[in-house]
Subunit: 520 residues, 2 copies
C-alpha cells in the first residue's frame, strides 16, 4: 500500500494499484444524486484554502475529475440513521466517490481528505503537489451511533468554537454531537416562551477556583455567562447538518435545573431563594412535579424540537437527587394521587410525561441510565454512563442503548501521568490506549440484543475546561481513538498501527490548529 | 435466702438470718446526717399509700424502727458522681440503712421498697402484713453513669409523665435522666431570651402517619405542639433531685435544629422558608456558623445551665449533615478564615465554642460520637451511639464515654417477634435478653482506659411513641434489664434468675400502673 493509504483509518476493504493521481488546478467536482451537490461544495471548501484551486462544483451525471454520486435518497432506519456505506476509487481517470446516499458521501469525503498529503488541511495556501494514490476503498462503520458530547453549561463556548468542534467530529467520521445545553451552572439556549431562562439562568455570580473537592471552596467573584440565541442554534444545526452530523440536544431534567429554578422559582420544590450554581458537584434542587412544571418542560422541549431536526431528544435524568421530593409534601401527595411507591417511580413518571410529548412529535427520548430507576419509559433509549450496567439492563429489556461509561469515555478525566503535570481535571485517568481498547458491546449482553447497542460516545464535561483550546486538549487524541473504536470492526483495531498513523494525523490536527495533547 | 430477698436485684453481699420484721402502724422513720431527712420523707411517701401507716419522719441520731444514716456529705468525683455505696440491715430491732451520703441512701430505699411484699407499690390501701426478712445487704453499683434517655421532641410528654418516668428510673436505681429537649420536630424548652423558640418552634402543622420509610408519606394534618416552661423544668429538676437523679439536658446542635431555624431563620444557612418538621429522618437544615449564631446558642446554654444543676450538658452533635455548609459560601469563607480543611473540622470548631462556654460555667460537655469527627473538644465526653467504635476511640484518647449503641440500647426498636404483631417501631430488634447480655466495656478498650467508660444508657426516641403509655411499653422490661447491666458486676448477671425475678417485678410495675411489654 502506498504511504498515504496506510495513514488513514483502516477501511473494510482496500485494493491498491500502482500509480498516483496528481490533481490539476482546474480540477472540477461533479455531483450526482440527492444531496450530493451540497457534499461536493463542502469538499471544495475543504480543498480550496491549501491548494489555491478553485474546485468548481456542478451537478451533472457526467463525471469530472472528482465525482460524487449518491445512488439514492438517504433512507433512515427506525432510529433515524442513514446507511453510511461508500466506495472511493482513485484512478488515472479521477476520483469516484459513490454511496447509497449523501450521508455516505459525507463520510467518504472525510476519508478522501486524509488520502491527500496532510498539508491539505492547512487554512492557507501550501506549496505542494496534490497527489492521491490509486486505490479502491469500500467502507462502512461498525456502529450507528458514533457520538461526542460537549457540556456548554459549566463553561460556555461560542458558536464558532462549537462549529469547529463539530468540524473535528466530522473529520473523525463521528455522526452524533451531543449538545449538553442546560446545567445548574447556566442555561444556554434561548427559549422564547420563557425568556428568564437565559436572562437570569445563563449568568452566575462567580465561579469556583480549583477542584470541587478542595476545602474550603474559594470563588473568583467574576460574573460568568453566555447563551445561544435561537438564531445561533440554527447556525450550529445548519453547520452540523451540512456535515451529516446529527445534534442530540440535551435539556437535563428533573435534576441539574438550578439555573432554571433560579429563573422561575415556581419550578422548585420549596420557597428557597436559590442561585445559578457557582461550583460543581450535584445540586439537590430538582424540579417539582406539578402539572404546571411538566407543561413548562414540554413547552421547552417543543421549542427545542423545532430547532433540532434529529430523531433523539435527550432529557438527562441523571443525578436527580430525590431528597427534595422525599421532603416535599406536595411531591408526596402527587405520588399518592398517582399511586407511586417511591421517588424513583415519580422520576419515572416525570420522564414518561416527556417521553409521550417527544413521541407525539415523532421523536425519541434518550436519557442517562438513571431513567431506568423506577421503570423505563416505553420508547426511551438509554445512555449508560455509570459503567455499562444500565446499558446492559436496558438492552435486555429491548431498549436501544448508547455506551458512555465514565471509566473509559469521560474525556474530562486525566489522560496522562503524572496528574500533577497536567492541568486540573475532573478525576480518574483515561489514557488513549484505554479508550482505543474499549469494546462497546459488553459480554453480558446476549447476542440477540447486540443490535440494541447503537454505539458509544465520549463525554466532555466542562467543569475544568474553561476555554475552547482546553476542550481540544482534553478531546484529542482521545476522540481519534474513539472514532476507530466506533467505525472499525473489532478485529481491525490495532493499537501500534493507530499510534503510527496518529503521528501523521497530528500533522493534520496541527494544520487545523487543534491544541491536542502531546501524548502518546 | 427468704423469698423476697431472692426477688430483688442481686446485691454485692447478702447475709440472711432466720426471722422477719413485721412493721407496726406506728413505725417511725428517723434520719441522721446531711440530706438523710429528705430521703426519709421520700421513703415515707413511698410506703404510706399501700400501708396506710403514717410513717412520721424525724431528724435524730436515736434510731427509730426505720433509721437512715448518711455518714457524710455527698463528695463527688471529678465527673460529679457521688459514692452510692450503702448497707441495709433488717433485724428484730428494725431497719438500718447506712450510706456514705444521701445519694447512697436514695439508692438504698429503692432496695428496701423491693424487700417488701410487692403490694407496697400500690397507690391505695392494701390489706397486707408489711413484713421484711432479716438481712444484711451491702451494695454499690458497678458503673457511675446508669442512664436512660427520653426524646420529648418528636412527641411531647407532660410534666407529670416525665416525673413518672423519672420515678421509674429511680426504682431501677438508674442515676441519669437524659432529657432530649430539642428536635427538628419541636423545640420543647422555654428560653426567655428567645421566646420564638417555643412560640413558633414548639408547634408543627401536622405529623407523619406510619413509618418514615413508607412512600408516599401521608400526614395527619393535625397541629401538634407542647413545651416546658422554665417553671415546669424547675418542677422536673426538683422531682429528679429529690431522687438523686441527675438530669442531663440536651440541646442538639448544629443539626436537628429545623424548629429553631424556623423560629429564627437567621440561624440557617440559606434564605429558605423552612418549617417545623412534620416527618422523621434527618433534616439537612443545620445552623450556620456566624458569630451571631454561636452567641445565640451560648445564650441558650446559659439559660439551660441555670435550670439544670448537673455537671454534664449535652450538645448533641449527631447527624449534622454537612451539605449546607459545603454549599454555603459564607460557611466556606468561615472555614477559610479559620484555616479549616473540612466541614467536619468546622463542626469541631463549633462544638469547641460550646465546650469553652460550658467549661467556663464549671460544667462539662457531652455529645454524640459524631463530635469526634474533625477533632474532639478538650474536655468533651462522648456518647457512643453508632456502635461502640466512637466510645472506644474516645476512651483511647483519654475522654470519658457513655455507651449507647443503637443495636442494643435503642429501646425504640422492636422487642419481640413477629414485628407485625407489635405496634409500629423504629426498626431493628432488641429483645430483653440482648439488653441483659450487653457488656458496656468492649474488649477493644485497653484495661488502663476502662475507667473512662462511665457507663451506658438506653435511648427512647419518640418518633413512633406518640403517648406516654407507649413509652412504658417500649421502656419496660428493657430498662429493668439495663439496670442490672449497669448495677451488677459482670459475674453477678444471670438471665434465668433475672427472668424469675422479673415475674415478681411485673407485679410491682402493675401496681405502679406501668404498661410494660408482656414478654419475656
Amino acid at each position: 500500500m502506498s504511504d498515504s493509504i496506510q495513514m488513514i483509518p483502516r477501511p473494510k476493504s482496500v485494493i491498491t494499484f500502482e500509480g498516483k493521481l496528481k490533481l490539476k488546478p482546474d480540477t472540477a467536482i461533479t455531483c450526482a444524486g440527492e444531496g450530493a451537490f451540497a457534499v461536493g461544495e463542502l469538499l471544495a471548501e475543504y480543498l480550496r484554502p491549501a491548494s489555491g484551486f478553485e474546485f468548481p462544483v456542478s451537478k451533472t451525471k457526467a463525471p469530472g475529475t472528482i465525482h460524487l454520486e449518491a445512488a439514492g435518497v438517504a433512507k433512515t432506519d427506525d432510529a433515524g440513521f442513514a446507511d453510511e456505506y461508500y466506495t472511493l476509487c482513485v484512478s488515472a481517470s479521477g476520483v469516484h466517490l459513490q454511496a447509497k446516499n449523501a450521508t455516505g458521501l459525507a463520510r467518504g469525503i472525510q476519508c478522501l481528505r486524509q488520502l491527500f498529503p496532510t498539508a491539505i488541511m492547512a487554512p492557507s495556501l501550501q506549496k505542494n503537489d496534490w497527489i492521491l494514490p490509486f486505490v479502491e476503498i469500500e467502507d462502512v462503520p461498525r456502529f450507528r451511533w458514533r457520538g461526542q458530547h460537549l457540556d456548554v453549561g459549566r463553561h460556555f463556548f461560542s458558536v464558532e468554537e462549537v462549529c469547529k468542534f463539530i468540524e473535528l467530529l466530522a473529520l473523525h467520521r463521528l455522526n452524533i454531537f451531543h449538545f449538553h445545553l442546560t446545567e445548574d451552572q447556566g442555561w444556554r439556549i434561548e427559549i422564547k416562551k420563557y425568556p428568564k431562562l437565559t436572562e437570569i439562568g445563563s449568568k452566575r455570580d462567580c465561579t469556583l477556583i480549583g477542584h470541587d473537592n478542595t476545602r474550603p471552596r474559594r470563588y473568583d467573584h467574576t460574573p460568568y455567562g453566555g447563551y445561544y440565541t435561537q438564531e445561533d442554534i440554527k447556525t450550529i444545526v445548519a453547520f452540523a447538518s451540512r456535515r451529516h452530523i446529527t445534534i442530540v440536544p440535551e435539556i437535563d431534567m428533573p435534576g441539574h435545573m438550578a439555573a432554571a429554578i433560579t429563573a422561575y422559582p415556581e419550578l422548585g420544590n420549596f420557597d428557597f431563594k436559590t442561585r445559578v450554581r457557582c461550583h460543581w458537584g450535584i445540586s439537590q434542587n430538582v424540579l417539582n412535579v406539578e402539572d404546571s412544571t411538566v407543561n413548562f418542560m414540554k413547552d421547552v422541549l417543543t421549542e427545542v424540537m423545532a430547532l433540532f431536526p434529529g430523531r433523539f431528544i435527550h432529557v438527562g435524568g441523571d443525578e436527580a437527587l430525590k431528597h427534595e421530593w422525599s421532603e416535599s409534601e406536595r411531591a408526596q401527595n402527587k405520588m399518592y394521587e398517582l399511586g407511586l411507591k417511591s421517588e424513583e417511580e415519580l422520576q419515572s413518571w416525570f420522564i414518561r410525561q416527556m417521553d409521550a410529548h417527544i413521541g407525539d412529535a415523532g421523536r425519541r427520548l434518550i436519557g442517562w441510565d438513571e431513567i431506568l430507576e423506577g421503570g423505563l419509559a416505553e420508547g426511551a433509549a438509554v445512555m449508560s454512563w455509570q459503567g455499562e450496567e444500565g446499558g446492559t439492563q436496558a438492552a435486555a429489556l429491548g431498549h436501544d442503548v448508547v455506551m458512555a461509561p465514565i471509566e473509559i469515555l469521560y474525556f474530562n478525566h486525566y489522560q496522562a501521568e503524572p496528574k500533577e503535570a497536567e492541568p486540573l481535571a475532573s478525576r480518574g485517568m483515561t489514557p488513549v490506549d484505554a479508550v482505543y481498547a474499549y469494546e462497546p458491546i459488553p459480554e453480558e449482553i446476549a447476542e440477540e440484543n447486540h443490535h440494541h447497542v447503537m454505539g458509544a460516545q465520549g463525554e466532555l464535561w466542562s467543569e475544568y475546561i474553561p476555554v475552547f483550546s482546553h476542550v481540544e486538549y482534553m478531546g484529542f487524541p482521545r476522540i481519534c481513538a474513539l472514532s476507530e473504536v466506533l467505525w472499525l470492526e473489532k478485529d481491525q483495531k490495532d493499537y501500534p498501527d493507530f499510534l503510527k498513523r496518529l503521528k501523521v494525523h497530528r500533522e493534520r490536527l496541527d494544520y487545523l490548529n487543534v491544541n491536542a495533547h502531546k501524548r502518546p
